[in-house]
């Protein structure tokens, strides 16, 4: 079934709640091919052109269509708008995947290594969920953490992202030099109006994590007035390094990767935790440095 308008798709989904809405299908078909999923019906969202673009709203908000492909988000006009999201889309996978993979699909799938998710969490984006005649607005973090999950028959339509007009960085560590799933990713955005730093760490947990204490701490260490001036460091390098460690220890627990079933009491952080903390610390430190450069 290939609806061509949003209303059509929402009604089709309401008529058959067991049907699976398919945008790019990259995550869905991987599960189908592996035998983990047997869709009762498919509703293709690729023909809904209104969801494939974005528009602006008052109050400095961009409303992105859920059908915006990762390849489209990589283009320069979008990268000027939300650079971190463009960076995440660029590294999300090979061209074959980015050409069809969508922003809404990334959110709806909520894969742990979804690359756009930490960016959306750091940007404090919200999504619009539509049912026939009813829409509701849910913060992305509530949606991802299960605080306010998607209900049956709901379709993710729009993603509201505040435009900050400030440096944004997305960094990702992978197992190979080509595109692959992140072992850890860090999105960091500056909010100079509120003099705040917002950071989210992806791929180390089922949902992106926000180290709120580390954000608040490092926001006080930044010389906001000197930011952007030539030759004046906006932050002490030692403070940036400490921020990295702070983020890492906040996001990677001691028992990470440990064998919970073995019943052994944890004696300090496991080797996996130490390794991942080092990765996250370096990513966070570099992200802060690049954002303040």
């Amino acid at each position: 079934m290939l609806p061509t308008s949003l209303d059509e798709a929402v009604e089709a989904l309401a008529a058959s709640p067991a049907a699976v809405p398919v945008a790019g299908g990259t995550d869905l078909m991987e599960a189908v091919n592996a035998g983990r999923l047997r869709p009762a019906a498919l509703i293709g969202l690729g023909r809904i052109t209104e969801l494939r673009g974005w528009r602006y709203e008052d109050g400095g908000t961009a409303v992105l269509g859920a059908g915006l492909t990762l390849a489209r988000m990589d283009r320069p006009d979008f990268a000027a708008l939300i650079p971190a999201l463009a960076d995440a889309a660029r590294t999300a996978g090979p061209p074959q995947t980015r050409n069809v993979g969508t922003l809404g699909g990334n959110i709806a799938t909520a894969a742990p290594a979804g690359d756009t998710l930490p960016v959306l969490a750091a940007l404090e984006a919200s999504v619009t969920l539509a049912r026939p005649g009813v829409t509701r607005e849910v913060p992305v973090s509530h949606l991802l953490t299960g605080l306010d999950p998607m209900r049956p028959g709901e379709l993710l339509t729009w993603v509201r992202v505040p435009l900050l007009n400030a440096p944004q960085v997305f960094l990702k560590a992978t197992g190979r030099s080509g595109p692959s799933r992140a072992t850890a990713s860090v999105a960091l955005v500056l909010d100079p109006a509120r003099r705040a730093v917002r950071c989210a760490v992806g791929a180390v947990a089922p949902v992106p994590l926000r180290p709120l204490e580390a954000e608040a701490w490092v926001a006080g260490c930044i010389d906001w007035d000197a930011r952007g001036e030539e030759g004046v460091p906006a932050i002490d390098p030692a403070a940036a390094a400490a921020f990295g460690e702070y983020v890492a220890s906040a996001c990677v627990p001691d028992g990470y990767g440990g064998d919970a079933a073995s019943g052994l009491p944890a004696e300090g952080p496991t080797a996996e935790a130490l390794r991942l903390r080092r990765t996250v610390a370096v990513l966070a430190r570099r992200a802060l440095g690049r954002a303040l450069k």
């Binding site: 290939l2 398919v22 790019g24 299908g25 990259t26 869905l28 078909m29 991987e30 189908v32 091919n33 592996a34 035998g35 999923l37 047997r38 869709p39 009762a40 019906a41 498919l42 293709g44 690729g46 390849a71 996978g93 090979p94 061209p95 074959q96 995947t97 050409n99 069809v100 080509g178 595109p179 692959s180 990767g257 064998d259 079933a261 073995s262």
Partner: protein, 460 residues
């Protein structure tokens, strides 16, 4: 059969749709909606160019173009690709003539086992469609989704530059020729291009030739042998070609292009391209293929194909399920494939009939592959790394058995206490007095341990 749980029919919803592959309408009937485009292309439509590598979108061997976008065929639900324009690698290597991309890949040595090559060719083709002069970095980024495990990427990157150089050179010559005289523009440009050999076809049409926007992507292989928009299909006329016209007719083809049959190639043909052009039965078989052809369009006007009967082709109904309906490009020269096209209904030379591989997620009872679970069969996954499984780690308290004396003994990693681990001779009695049962003697004709194969072992 335990691996094939029988599912009710409603758990396997099916759909019928029409795919537009390489410019031809290809009906697909009663296909499970979970079938990927890759599966439908390979198993239902007989287009085996795209390869099944990982089924996860990681390897790029299944790359095809859907609506001009390079996608992983294994990650596209085929039912949702209906009404889209799909082009596969068979559209590149139309009629057996390798496109310039494919020829360059072969010439630069980018092909060893060849499994990744169809996907690589599609990726290069897609890159050069969008970017006529890709830099090294752009080429690497475009090919980053195509994994090659035996050749490496250097020669593939060299092929990208070869094709880009050849195309720009050909385009430059065409422009120069067009500047000399508008009236005589098309002829020398085409002549120059064909004089350069197959590596340098004119990538853009000469200015005298009108631009036809919606044509299928055959310009790579066809600018030198056929006009744009023609779809290479072997037919019953003397030339061996059928011209179908799935779109609106290009307006002016006043340049007579004498149609020549593909000459015997002395260069090795890569990919899916049939090899045996020196075997005459390939063309004879192809001529017999017309019985199942079904063309929606009319013939291309113009003098290009003088041997074809005037008045076009009679549309003949497509035999349902034969898979040789609308415009199959018949494989030629493969032994056993002469009689009919590959696909359902095929009778191979050995007498075996075509048995499609079960669809992904199909677990039909009585499937011809009993024993091996079909794709999509629910299975117990291998425990993830780190799952407690098998030998306990060193120092783990050994739970032991309730009535044995070793319960709670820490496992030291060198065998349990009492095991005659390092003793040269084993007398059946442990040093703590435990009497062990000796292992039963192996039967005389059993396969020896350690994988040794005796000469009389017929499985050797």
């Amino acid at each position: 059969m335990t691996n094939h749980p029988v599912h009710p029919v409603d758990e396997r919803p099916c759909a019928s749709y029409t795919l537009r592959v390489n410019g031809f309408e290809r009906p697909v009937t009663d296909a499970w909606i979970g079938e990927s485009l890759l599966y439908v292309l390979r198993e239902r439509l007989g287009l085996a160019g795209a390869k099944n590598g990982c089924e996860q979108g990681e390897c790029g061997a299944c790359s095809v173009q859907v609506d001009g976008q390079l996608v992983a065929g294994c990650l596209v639900p085929a039912a949702l690709a209906a009404d889209s324009e799909i082009s596969t690698v068979e559209g590149l290597s139309a009629g057996g003539a390798a496109s310039d991309v494919q020829q360059a890949l072969a010439d630069s040595g980018a092909v060893q086992c060849g499994y990744c090559t169809p996907g690589m060719a599609m990726a290069v083709h897609d890159l050069l469609q969008r970017n006529h002069r890709p830099s090294e970095v752009e080429a690497r980024q475009a090919l980053c989704g195509n994994l090659c495990r035996c050749t490496g990427y250097r020669s593939a990157l060299a092929a990208v530059q070869t094709v880009a150089d050849a195309r720009s050179a050909a385009l430059l010559e065409a422009e120069e020729a067009a500047a000399e005289g508008v009236g005589e523009a098309a002829e020398p440009a085409a002549a120059d291009a064909s004089a350069q050999g197959r590596q340098a076809p004119v990538q853009a049409p000469a200015p005298a030739e009108p631009e036809v926007p919606d044509l299928p992507v055959y310009q790579d292989a066809w600018t030198e042998t056929a006009a744009a928009g023609e779809v290479p299909v072997f037919g019953n006329d003397d030339s061996g070609w059928i011209v179908a016209q799935p779109f609106e007719a290009p307006q002016a083809f006043d340049t007579p292009q004498p149609f020549e049959a593909p000459q015997p190639f002395d260069t090795p043909q890569p990919f899916e391209a049939p090899q045996a052009f020196d075997q005459p039965q390939a063309y004879e078989a192809a001529q017999g293929f017309e019985a199942a052809q079904h063309f929606e369009g009319t013939r291309m006007p113009g003098p290009a194909h003088p041997a074809q009967p005037a008045g076009g082709y009679e549309p003949s109904p497509t035999a349902v399920g034969t898979g040789v309906g609308v415009g199959v490009i018949p494989p030629q020269g493969y032994p056993g494939y002469e009689a009919t096209a590959y696909g359902p209904g095929t009778v191979y030379a050995s007498g075996a009939t075509y048995e499609p591989t079960p669809a992904h997620g199909t677990s039909a009872p009585g499937a011809p592959f009993e024993g091996t679970p079909a794709h999509g069969t629910p299975y117990e996954p291998t425990p993830a790394h780190g799952t407690p499984y098998g030998t306990p780690a060193q120092g783990t308290p050994y739970p032991g058995y309730p009535d044995q004396q070793y319960a709670g003994t820490p496992y030291e990693g060198a065998g349990y206490e009492g095991t005659p681990y390092d003793r040269a001779s084993y007398d059946g009695v442990g040093y703590d007095g435990t009497v062990y049962e000796p292992a039963p003697a192996a039967p005389y004709d059993a396969t020896p341990a350690h994988g040794l194969r005796l000469p009389e072992d017929d499985h050797a």
